[in-house]
């Protein structure tokens, strides 16, 4: 007989629910029963049974698994072997054992936050996470960005609005949120709905005065150099 938390207070006996596609598993040694077909993060957030940080996750769009902060340890063989998985993507399974705050998980989170802090030292939410997890000054070279490339703005525009006015371009450390041809002004594709600004976890993308969003200025101006060069040539050839 397992218990089912609702709002963290009420409990219902599972035997009283008919025809429920239920999945019973444990989170941090506590039993949970939720409906199947959801991810660990969704289950944990809905039941409030634990607190897993997740920056690139938003319930309104599909999960992406980019920030890796939501990593937890999972065992599917009764506790003999554990593996690291991104809880925003991993589906709940009958009998699984989930640990959200082991030493290893905390160490990993601390490491990821340190990397994020090195990328975005002046971003409020990163600073707050750093304080929560005891990360002080990063041991590496520090940049000055606000965008963590979580992709929420891109996914919001694509999945909620269906417009796909912006996308993630380039590869690796040069990845950035951009409009086609690295334009800083958004064209007609953008309907000015502001969903991208709404889902952004760090405030890197903001609403401009003209009703269109202002894209995160990339502090590694890789794309700028490229755009400027072709712009120059284009003007030179026309001028």
């Amino acid at each position: 007989m397992t218990k089912y938390w609702v709002d963290g207070e009420k409990t219902i006996d599972i035997n009283e629910a008919d025809d429920v596609n239920s999945v019973c598993f444990t989170v941090d040694d506590k039993d949970v029963v939720v409906s199947g077909g959801q991810t660990i993060l969704e289950a944990v957030q809905r039941t409030g049974i634990a607190n897993i940080p997740a920056l690139c996750y938003h319930p309104a769009v599909r999960p992406y698994g980019a920030c890796r902060l939501c990593t937890v340890e999972v065992s599917e063989d009764g506790g003999k072997n554990f593996k690291f998985v991104a809880s925003c993507l991993y589906p709940v399974k009958e009998g699984m054992i989930v640990k959200t705050s082991t030493e290893k998980v905390k160490k990993l989170r601390k490491g990821i936050i340190e990397l994020l802090l090195a990328r975005c030292p002046n971003t409020k939410i990163i600073q707050e996470l750093a304080e929560e997890y005891g990360v002080e000054k990063p041991r590496f070279s520090v940049g000055d960005q606000d965008c963590i490339l979580c992709g929420l703005c891109v996914r919001a525009c694509q999945e909620i609005i269906g417009k796909s006015a912006i996308s993630l371009v380039n590869r690796g450390i040069y990845k950035e949120v951009a409009a086609p041809f690295y334009a800083y002004e958004l064209g007609e594709e953008c309907i000015g709905c502001g969903d991208c600004v709404f889902v952004c976890p760090t405030g890197a993308i903001t609403m401009g005065d003209n009703g269109k969003p202002v894209l995160p200025r990339v502090k590694i101006p890789y794309a700028e150099i490229g755009a400027m060069k072709s712009e120059e040539k284009l003007l030179a050839s026309q001028g």
Partner: protein, 626 residues
């Protein structure tokens, strides 16, 4: 239009009977009195000028109307790439290396027409200084077990009939008519074949999950996105014997119930793409692809897709994204590809070498195959033995051979009398193996035990002049450039690791850097999304484990013991050895070398940019590097 032309030419083999008849007909038609002349046409030999040699032969044969006497063919890669252009003259297989167009007339006159050997073109064994005449006596070749690569030297990859004459597509007939899908999967499983792309996953098990996966539409994929720098076996097989891969794929498709296949070749292999295309066209012409193959009722077709220049697309989920027309970003693989792969359908993805093993296993049987290799790793493996090694090229050996045998018996040891330092295996996900492990028996598990991995078979030999910190820096920079950038650990972690290694190799390293890198390594292996990120720190981990002294020299002493890291070395001229010839001064692009004629010259350290051109140009060994 193409279909109409096809019908007109009608080469389609309607059943196995016709296949066997054709095979026999080609063999019968062979004039065994003709002398075979095979020129290696692989990309490696082409880089050394093989195309001109081929042309020279073709012209000469045409001019003197020697077609009756000579069976001339341009074959696939023979594997001994450093000795190219290679020409082998049958039937005894006289082996000539470094052949130039100017040598062609002599070869025809002396060897082909009179059976005499042109001594200057023979291979000389560096160990014994002996001239070796026949291919089978060349130690590089005779110590190998060339079950897969052997055919490369025999057939012209653009002529399917040569493949058929050599026994090609007999495994397909057997699979279609003497076995059934379950039996095929059993054969592959009992043979013990493991994935040759890097993972070493039991192939039979993969086939079984795809076979039982639910769905009417399934796909068979060939991963020819050989991205590991230093490995080129897949290119060689796809260029030299594409039908072996195609035959394997058709058998696999039949076993799991797929009707469509894709070969994903990296963009940087134009010849492999070309030959695969020709092979596919011919396979369609002869009825091995398309509808009702050999009257079995089975339909299957294959498309070739080219990569776009991204190493990460060798990762299975990124490869699939690329096939779907999207950017090559991997996805977390919490659902297996065998259930949801390409277009969310069951997909069987195997590496080129894995596919090439399939016809062999079906023809000769799992019992025969499982006798080769070790308990955990069956069959042969093809390694690319490159770097600081005398005999450089592709080596196919049974699993279980020791590293020492590979490097010294087959590879001929380190050139210029230098000392062995390490061998790097498994590409950027692998590690560096030092001298104390030279007697390790090479197989999947043994290599993993010593901190490296089999990977795609790259085996890069390094000597005393290789800086291991620089090697780590090279791999991390490579991975940083190839990272897709999706997840924080890989994108940010590799960038920071690269910064640290740059500092260390520039003499600005700090002792705490090593701990920082180990912490970053942990973040990568626990947190990264895909296998590229999870194994990205291996080069650093393995070099730190076995070559920590080099790191400490860079950090504490600001010295590079191997003499590689530019900021930490100094070139100087030994006044005792310098003859004052001035060659170095002229070669120096910074005008940093001064001196009177016939007087010892001096390098101005302030102007020297450590490019090393003077060091290369001095014929008297008067320039030292420390």
């Amino acid at each position: 239009m193409v279909e109409q032309v096809r019908k007109l030419l009608d080469k389609k083999l309607k059943n196995t009977g016709e296949l066997e008849k054709l095979r026999q007909a080609v063999l019968d038609k062979r004039d065994t009195s003709r002398i075979t002349v095979s020129v290696c046409g692989g990309t490696g030999c082409r880089a050394s000028g093989a195309e001109a040699v081929v042309e020279a032969f073709a012209e000469e044969i045409e001019k003197r109307e020697l077609q009756v006497k000579i069976d001339f063919k341009e074959t696939g890669c023979h594997g001994f790439c450093e000795r190219g252009p290679i020409v082998v003259i049958g039937p005894k297989k006289i082996f000539y290396q470094h052949v130039q167009p100017e040598d062609v007339q002599e070869i025809i006159n002396e060897t082909v027409l009179q059976g005499k050997v042109v001594k200057r073109l023979l291979y000389i064994d560096p160990a014994t200084s002996e001239e070796i005449t026949y291919e089978s006596d060349v130690p590089f070749y005779n110590k190998q077990t060339r079950l897969i690569l052997g055919a490369n030297g025999e057939i012209d990859p653009t002529d399917i009939e040569q493949y058929i004459a050599a026994g090609g597509y007999s495994a397909l007939s057997k699979a279609l008519f003497q076995l059934n899908p379950d039996k095929i999967v059993n054969e592959i499983t009992s043979a013990g074949l493991r994935g040759r792309g890097g993972g070493g996953f039991p192939t039979g098990r993969k086939w079984q999950s795809c076979r039982t996966a639910k769905g009417d539409v399934k796909y068979v994929l060939c991963n020819a996105d050989e991205g590991d720098p230093g490995a080129y076996q897949d290119r060689s097989i796809l260029e030299g014997n594409p039908h072996s891969v195609i035959e394997g794929m058709i058998i696999g498709a039949y076993a799991i119930g797929a009707s469509q296949g894709f070969i994903y070749v990296r963009n940087e292999y134009p010849l492999a793409v070309e030959h695969a295309r020709i092979a596919l066209e011919q396979a369609i012409d002869y009825g091995f692809l398309g509808e009702n193959i050999l009257d079995s009722g089975f339909n299957f077709k294959i498309t070739i897709n080219k990569g776009g220049g991204a190493f990460v697309c060798g990762e299975s989920s990124a490869l699939i994204a690329s096939l779907e027309g999207k950017i090559g970003e991997p996805k977390s693989k919490y659902t297996h590809m065998s259930e949801k792969g390409l277009w969310e359908r069951p997909s069987l993805l195997n590496n080129v070498k894995t596919w090439a093993n399939v016809p062999l296993i079906i023809n000769k049987g799992a019992d025969w195959y499982s006798k080769i290799g070790t308990a955990g790793s069956k069959g042969t493996m093809i390694f690319s033995l490159v770097g600081k090694i005398n005999n450089s090229g592709l080596v196919e050996v049974p699993m279980g051979i020791t590293l020492r045998e590979m490097i010294y018996d087959i590879g001929g040891g380190i050139p210029n009398g230098k000392k062995f330092k390490a061998v790097q295996t498994g590409g950027p996900s692998g590690g560096c193996i030092p001298e104390q492990f030279l007697d390790t028996h090479v197989d999947f598990d043994e290599l993993t035990k010593i901190g490296s991995m089999m990977g795609s078979g790259g085996m890069i030999v390094m000597d005393e002049d290789t800086c291991m910190v620089d090697v780590a820096r090279y791999f991390i920079n490579f991975l940083k450039g190839e990272s897709c950038g999706k997840c924080v650990p890989c994108r940010e972690g590799l960038a920071k690791m690269s910064d640290i290694l740059d500092r260390i190799t520039h003499g600005e390293g700090k002792p705490e850097d090593l701990d920082t890198m180990m912490d970053l390594a942990e973040i990568l292996s626990a947190g990264a999304l895909c296998a590229l990120g999870r194994t990205a720190a291996n080069p650093v981990i393995s070099t730190l484990k076995y070559f920590k002294d080099e790191y400490m020299a860079h950090i504490n002493d600001k010295k590079c013991p191997a003499g590689v890291c530019r900021e930490l070395i100094q070139y100087s001229i030994d006044p005792e050895k310098c003859t004052g010839c001035g060659v170095c001064a002229r070669a120096c692009s910074m005008n940093a070398i001064s001196g009177e004629k016939k007087e010892p010259h001096v390098i101005n350290q302030n102007m020297c940019i450590k490019c090393g051109v003077c060091y290369d140009s001095c014929k008297f060994g008067a320039i030292t590097k420390q």
